[in-house]
Amino acid sequence: MYASVENEFVESACRNLQGHTLSQVHGLFAQLIYLASTRDYLSGVYHHDGLEYEYGSQVAGEALKRCHTELFSKLVALPLPALVDELNAYLTSSGTDFAHSLLLWDKLQIYRVTPPLDCPRVSAEFFLSNVKIALAILYSRARNRRPDLQFELPLR
C-alpha cells in the first residue's frame, strides 16, 4: 500500500520533471547530460531543488533516477545514425567551436559519466562504444568539410 502511494508520487514527480525541466532542454543527449549532472559524484544520489521542495528529497531522487534510466534506455536503443544526429545536435547547440568540442569530448571522455548506476554493464559499454564511434563519424565529416583542421582525434 505504502509502496504504491510512493510510486504514485514518483510518477507524478517524473511527469513534473518532464513537463517543466526536461521540456526546456532540447535533444535527448542534452537531457541525458542534464540528468546525469544532477547525480552527486560521491554518493550517487540525485538532487533537484525544485523537485525536492515539492516532493521531498527521497521521491525527487527516485524520480530523477527513473527518468535518467528511461532516457538512457531510449538512447541505447537508438540506431547509430540517429545517435550521430543527436550527438551532432548537442555539440553544435552551444555555439562553441565544433572541432574544439569534439576534441574535448574525446579527450575528457565526458560521456563516461552518463550511464545510470544500476544499468547492466553491457548496455553501458554498448552506449559508450556507440558514442565513441559517433564522435569518429562526426570528426570525419568535419574533416571533409574543413580539410584545414589541424588536430587528429586520438580515438582509443
Binding site: P120, V122, E125, K132
Partner: protein, 181 residues
C-alpha cells in the same frame, strides 16, 4: 594408439587450449569503469536482452558506417562491436558461474536433494560455458562478419541462462522451505 585416436585427442586438447585463451582474453578486456555489482544480480531474461542484442549485432549500423567511406571509422566500428559482443558473452559466462556458486552454497545445506534437478543444473552450467566459449571463439576468429549471424544464438543463450537461474532458484526454495520446517 591409432593415428586417428591421436589426432582426435590432439584436436580436443587444442580446442581446450583455444577456449581457455579466449575466455582469459575476454575477461581481461572487460573494462572496470562501470560499477555493476547490482546489475550482476539482476535477472537476465531473454525478453530484456533481445533488443540490446539486436542493436549490438545490427547489420544496418555496419552499412551506415560503410557509407561513411572512412577506413579509420570502419576499423573502429569493427573493433568496438567485437569488444562489446565479447563483453556480452563474458557477462553471460560470469552470471552462469555466479548461479553455480550460489547453487553450490545452497546444495551444501540441502536436506532433501533432487538428483534430477541437479543433473539439469550441471548440464545447463557446462553447456552454457561451452556455448559461450564457442561463440566467443567465432567472434574472435571471424570478427564482425560472424557477429551479424550471432544475434539469435546469443539470445537463445540468454534464455537458457534465465531457465538455469529459475531451476536453481526453485531447488534452493524447496531446500529452504524444508529446512525451515
Amino acid at each position: 594408439m591409432t593415428l586417428a585416436t591421436f589426432i582426435f585427442v590432439l584436436l580436443g586438447f587444442l580446442l581446450v587450449v583455444v577456449l581457455t585463451l579466449v575466455a582469459r582474453g575476454t575477461s581481461e578486456e572487460a573494462p572496470e569503469a562501470i560499477p555493476d555489482a547490482a546489475a550482476l544480480h539482476s535477472p537476465f531474461s531473454r525478453e530484456a536482452t533481445t533488443p540490446l542484442l539486436s542493436r549490438i549485432f545490427s547489420a544496418s549500423d555496419l552499412q551506415y558506417v560503410q557509407r561513411q567511406n572512412n577506413p579509420h571509422v570502419l576499423r573502429l566500428f569493427r573493433h568496438e562491436r567485437k569488444r562489446v559482443a565479447l563483453l556480452f558473452l563474458s557477462d553471460l559466462r560470469l552470471r552462469t558461474q555466479e548461479i553455480k556458486a550460489l547453487h553450490a552454497r545452497g546444495a551444501l545445506t540441502a536436506t532433501s536433494p533432487n538428483p534430477g534437478a541437479e543433473v539439469r543444473i550441471a548440464f545447463g552450467y557446462f553447456s552454457m560455458l561451452f556455448f559461450t566459449a564457442v561463440l566467443s571463439l567465432l567472434v574472435q576468429v571471424f570478427g564482425i562478419s560472424a557477429i551479424r549471424f550471432l544475434a539469435v544464438p546469443a539470445s537463445a543463450l540468454a534464455g537458457r541462462l534465465s531457465t538455469l537461474a529459475q531451476i536453481s532458484q526453485s531447488v534452493r526454495d524447496v531446500a529452504e522451505n524444508s529446512a525451515s520446517r
